[in-house]
Subunit: 509 residues, 2 copies
Amino acid sequence: MLGRRGLGGAQSTWRSSWASPAIQLQRTVSTKILSRRSTIRDARQLDSGSRVAVGGWVKSVRKHKSVSFVNVNDGSCLGELQITLPSEETADAAVAKLSDITVGSSVFAEGELREVPGKQKRLELQPSTLEVLGKCDTQKYPLQKKYHSLEFLRGNLHLRARTNTFGAVTRVRNALGQGLHLYFQENDFLHLHSPILTSNDCEGAGEMFRIAKIDGKDDEFFGTPTYLTVSGQLHAEMYACALSKVYTFGPTFRAENSNTTRHLAEFWMVEPEMAFAGLDECVSSAQGAVQRSVAHALDICAEDIAFFNKNYDKQIAERLERVVAKEFARLTYTEAIEVLQKAVSEGKGKVSFEKKPEWGMDLQTEHERFLAEKYVGGPVFVTDYPADIKAFYMRKNSPDSQDRETVAGMDLLVPKIGELVGGSVREERFEVLEKKMRHLGLIPEEYIDEDTIALAGGELDWYLDLRRFGSVPHAGWGLGFERLVLFATGMDNIRDVIPLPRFPGQCKH
Amino acid sequence: MLGRRGLGGAQSTWRSSWASPAIQLQRTVSTKILSRRSTIRDARQLDSGSRVAVGGWVKSVRKHKSVSFVNVNDGSCLGELQITLPSEETADAAVAKLSDITVGSSVFAEGELREVPGKQKRLELQPSTLEVLGKCDTQKYPLQKKYHSLEFLRGNLHLRARTNTFGAVTRVRNALGQGLHLYFQENDFLHLHSPILTSNDCEGAGEMFRIAKIDGKDDEFFGTPTYLTVSGQLHAEMYACALSKVYTFGPTFRAENSNTTRHLAEFWMVEPEMAFAGLDECVSSAQGAVQRSVAHALDICAEDIAFFNKNYDKQIAERLERVVAKEFARLTYTEAIEVLQKAVSEGKGKVSFEKKPEWGMDLQTEHERFLAEKYVGGPVFVTDYPADIKAFYMRKNSPDSQDRETVAGMDLLVPKIGELVGGSVREERFEVLEKKMRHLGLIPEEYIDEDTIALAGGELDWYLDLRRFGSVPHAGWGLGFERLVLFATGMDNIRDVIPLPRFPGQCKH
């Protein structure tokens, strides 16, 4: 077998360094050698006969009588590179240390790529040198070749990126994020680093974390109570009302005691904001950004998506291809309610909802998923929601034919997830916004008129200033980035699509 | 004059909507019209005779007897588009509202681009319609056509992006950030969203902000004291020791009472980390990333860089071109000390430092700037610092010829700024690192040996695990992103290169 593989003369070309203990070997890997390293992704694209140096972690070892196969991965792709070694009997004396090559150990190997006999286009590495950089005690190492539950891996957050699943999640997450950047950069948006620390506590988006006073000091560090942001929207509006198109992409926070598969205390949001824009721009940019992001993931992570399709969700590849290929559907809220009511009344008992669909209610996840999965079979925008269930900054439409108040808002609903994006046109009319904010108590009562708000420096006075001076129609939306990663991977638990999940009781590392 | 400009028939082609009050005009700008909007940057690239619709804010108005010139900017570029209007006398009755077009007001105009007579390739817009979207009361508007000090603008953070300087800062910042992403994505790095909230309080990088307990509750939300991160490095190591090459790009925090032009309480850091890498990879990737970032800014923000060169720093354009064109210089710390000592001894009194350069000391900004500005005249890496002045995780070199201990660390020093990047090879040897951490009190004394640390779950035990299981040589660096923006714009104060600066006593908005 060895002869057939061209390894007959291995003893002469393959110089083992295993004789030395691992800690010495680490010292022998010079920078000059390291800099010749190829990623395993690149190595797998080379031609048979190429010389290559790779580093990686051992995923499996199969020892046979005359040959051993060591599969190595370095995270550059899902796939592994097989390193083929003469067995202990046929190699030189140093081969006793073959026992150091265990699952989880790290190796650095240099040699020649050869086609695996009989398997066209699969290459293996026949090394002239192979060093064990870091040993791994299999008795103590938490990760073994066997299957580990996602729950078990959540207890080993610092090692889980070494598994196929979490390597793939990290690569797809990276691709989705970069796809979003590409969309925005190609479409005249400026990336805005909106602040994490803020004194605005009245955005109404949820419970906020607050910064503690410095030990032993009475004063707040910033002179005012300071919170972790729940949204960069207001700051994005500030910059859109100067530079037209901006987007934030940063962490946001909720101090809510939610222990679900859909909530985190710290998560990443993407929030574009556009001046000179209405609901159509809002809808088309959300579609464009989601499509560009998913297309980029399909483009550079095809192997990972195939992995998720095989192991986590048999529909994921097809669903993503359809997202990229087709215009998203669009319904008004009023139409959506009619669709849901009709589905119940004509469904002959096959369609039922826990909460009965009625005009004026907020759509529940069950409704959102029905619309996306059953009615449309793909992403769908729902627009023009009742004013009463939406935030103060959304722009009011003219009352509808039945004299009901709606706002120019939109949600993007997708299969499996429900709401992926929420956005709206913003109320740009000073008088309308000021009245609404006063009604909601966002402007303290003692401020009698426009001038006294400005003079007294009400907390959101700066937000009103954007409407006082050269106000423009503007619109924007927010995308919960982890929801997009869930959507694109088919993973079920939001704790599995962020590197270090934070939730009540959990902030380890 | 009007005739010469081809505006003789303006009354017939140019239909003013100024007759209606502004708030009604806003309602008339339909989404259909908005969606035809071009950015001013794009409009300026079109041919004379093109029809175009633009929106923007009025930067200046010059009213003459028969014609008025309105300069408009929309943030897509530094430059403005001149809109040329018939004067009140020559237009129709509606022109009384020409008075609504004031500095700071927002307008939407549609019409034809024509070359400005006598000025080749400068286009002006002759509008068929022009609407004032949002008026701006010049009596109340803080920003006028006149010069405003940077200090004054820091008091109007929510409006300063409307000025030339802060528009340019925002565009250059965006380009530098995207240039970094491009470098990392092109070189096999995965973007890692390292967490903001962390229970690691022992990184030694500085004072940390702590999260307050939720009102009325005795327990910590996360069960442990929780802080805002000072660095993503340890988390980047976690992922590099699984996926080879990652980078963070996120906000970091310091609760230090520093009121200087160089410090912020919240700032953005870029921290790549590479497995199978040594000091050479550290140096070459830092050079590559800085060059790619600056090249991208030069590429897409040429007009802005020219603006900074004219108004803030006459050397900035040349300095940036040189950064991109040339290999960065490289010195060891020992060589750098010799250079500094020689400069003093041979400088005939012309070179002096507040702190005398001596082997073993940390380099001060005065030393760093001398090396970059006077000695090299450009960026310079200084490597192999004394072990005593560097962090615990840096990898020890073999003692030098004089038996002094150094670490495989590097700083990148640049003119004007001093240290822009700091990085190192990480100590990957379990025994060496564990001993050092124990010595520094990072491992509580009661943990007797490797196994009890693991069992007792010492706080940084996960960090030691990376060396316990398949350890690899790895290296990384950190770049203070605001310092890069200072370097690339020639601005002096770090508070002017971040959208909403946070420092002691200041967290407004």
